[in-house]
């Protein structure tokens, strides 16, 4: 379904993924008048593609309508900086209108043993809280905003509730979050049409390294272990001399008396 726009080259490329989050519409996506995606189904996330850095006019039309077809949604002059990792999301606004939102994905490196989770509100729904294991982790998230956190890796039982309530609108869903990765969770669909869903994008390679390898707590095996041996033996010898001296002193004192 993907059609290359232009040969990608060098460091001036960006990594671009596209998520289709508008229910009930199979579409074609055009970038600068050229077909980028065809027969793009709702709920689909493309594999990341390398695109030359630059400025793009994006247009989404009903499948087979062609580049001059009526735009379901469009976004002009979308900046795609070199080296960036971007996800363009076709989604509904909070009032239910189709929109295109480009997000720059945080792929900065993580501390060792951590994972990054980003949540994005791309649904026709009011503000929500995202909970993990029943506890709100991200609160008052509004369309089309995103929130991010560094967490311990593992499997999270996540759900989405209307902000400040216990009214579950999506989930619970089991979400596996791997160490060193950025996991992006999109809420998409429409609350009114009761077709809210989650889409998940995982980007790996942000892992850090442990900041040290502790290798001993005793010091017994130290290469300088010989020094304490010397010191202790000298101390023993000195003590021996001192004791003898003290005995001598006592005897002398006794003799004088």
């Amino acid at each position: 379904m993907a059609v290359a726009i232009a040969p990608a080259h060098g460091a001036s490329n960006a990594t671009v993924s596209i998520l289709h989050g508008v229910p009930d519409a199979t579409v074609d996506v055009y970038a600068n008048g050229k077909a980028l995606l065809e027969n793009f189904e709702p709920g689909t996330l493309t594999d990341p593609q390398m695109l030359p850095a630059g400025s793009y006019d994006l247009k989404v039309v009903k499948a087979s309508d062609g580049p001059d077809g009526d735009a379901i949604m469009s976004a002009n002059n979308v900046k795609v900086p070199g080296g960036a990792n971007i996800t363009v999301v076709a989604h509904l606004t909070d009032s239910g209108k189709p929109a295109l939102t480009p997000y720059v994905n945080d792929v900065s490196s993580l501390p060792a043993g951590k994972a990054r989770v980003i949540v994005r509100h791309d649904a026709a729904a009011p503000e929500v809280d995202v909970r993990a294991g029943g506890e709100p982790v991200f609160t008052d998230l509004a369309n089309p905003k995103e929130k991010s956190a560094e967490i311990d890796p593992g499997t999270i039982k996540a759900d989405v509730v209307l902000a400040g309530t216990d009214d579950v609108v999506i989930g619970p869903a089991s979400l596996k979050v791997a160490e060193g990765t950025t996991t992006i969770v999109y809420a998409w669909g429409s609350a009114e049409d009761e077709n809210l869903e989650l889409a998940v994008q995982a980007i790996s390679g942000m892992h850090g390294s442990p900041n040290s390898v502790p290798g001993g707590t005793g010091g017994q095996a130290a290469s300088s272990a010989a020094a304490p041996l010397w010191a202790s033996l000298v101390a023993v010898a000195t003590l021996g001399a001192a004791v003898s001296g003290w005995q001598l002193y006592r005897r002398r004192a006794f003799m004088v008396r």
């Binding site: 060792a112 017994q220 130290a222």
Partner: protein, 237 residues
């Protein structure tokens, strides 16, 4: 008369002291002799504390950096034929046991991650060695599989990893996984100051497949502990 006896006691005490000090020196000499040949290059065998702190004890780029400069051993060559290529074997299982036959060393391996400070969470007991479970497994197609353990512990004493310094290039290392065995041959043994250790390189998940075994070495300070890591690098055979 008492005074004379006292004088003899002084003399005896002095002689005993001298004897003890001489004995100590003798023991030290033995310890140094048996160790220096394999443990450390001459320049690093008796460094000042300052030298330990400020400069890499053995910079990895220098050919002199290898702790061991023993001859290439050939005894492990018989294992080569028995080892299948990676493509035939698929992804290895998690490692369970470390064995270094020449040193008569065997240690159980436990999967570890990082502690609250971001350090590798090596096992508390020096009798066990940890495998960094977020990184590659020993025998994976790429990247460094890292094992790390305490050389000693205030509580449990000195562990088997004190022997790592005796390794020589070419020594065999056998890792038992829960799917079979992975064989490696030692290529370098280095003592690297903690500040100079490139942990990104040690823990890399990319590039050629390597096994790395780390423990502590160098001088030990009451505050700050060991000042260096012993880093053994081995390649799959």
């Amino acid at each position: 008369m008492f005074g004379q006896q006292g004088g003899r006691r002084w003399l005896t005490a002095l002689l005993v002291s001298c004897l003890v000090v001489m004995l100590a020196g003798w023991r030290l000499a033995i310890a140094t002799d048996s160790g220096s040949g394999q443990i450390l290059p001459a320049s690093a065998s008796a460094p000042t504390r300052e030298a330990h702190d400020r400069s890499p004890i053995a910079p990895p780029t220098s050919p002199d950096a290898a702790i061991s400069r023993g001859p290439e051993r050939l005894s492990g060559s018989t294992t080569r034929a028995a080892t299948q290529s990676r493509a035939d074997k698929g992804e290895p299982g998690p490692p369970r046991m470390l064995a270094i036959p020449r040193l008569d060393l065997k240690m159980p391996i436990t999967a570890v991650t990082v502690d609250d400070t971001g350090a590798m969470a090596v096992p508390t007991r020096p009798s066990e060695i940890g495998w960094y479970a977020y990184g590659p497994r020993p025998g994976s197609a790429s990247g460094s599989a890292v094992l790390g353990g305490h050389v000693d512990s205030r509580e449990y004493g000195v562990g088997p990893l004190v022997e790592l310094k005796q390794l020589r290039r070419g020594d065999d290392i056998v890792i038992t996984t829960n799917r079979g065995t992975e064989r490696f041959r030692v290529s370098t043994i280095r003592l690297i100051g903690k500040r100079d250790l490139d942990l990104r390189d040690v823990f890399t998940r990319e590039g050629k497949p390597l096994l790395r075994i780390l423990t502590c070495g160098g001088t030990y300070r009451r505050s700050g502990g060991y000042q260096a890591n012993v880093v053994v690098t081995a390649r799959p055979v």
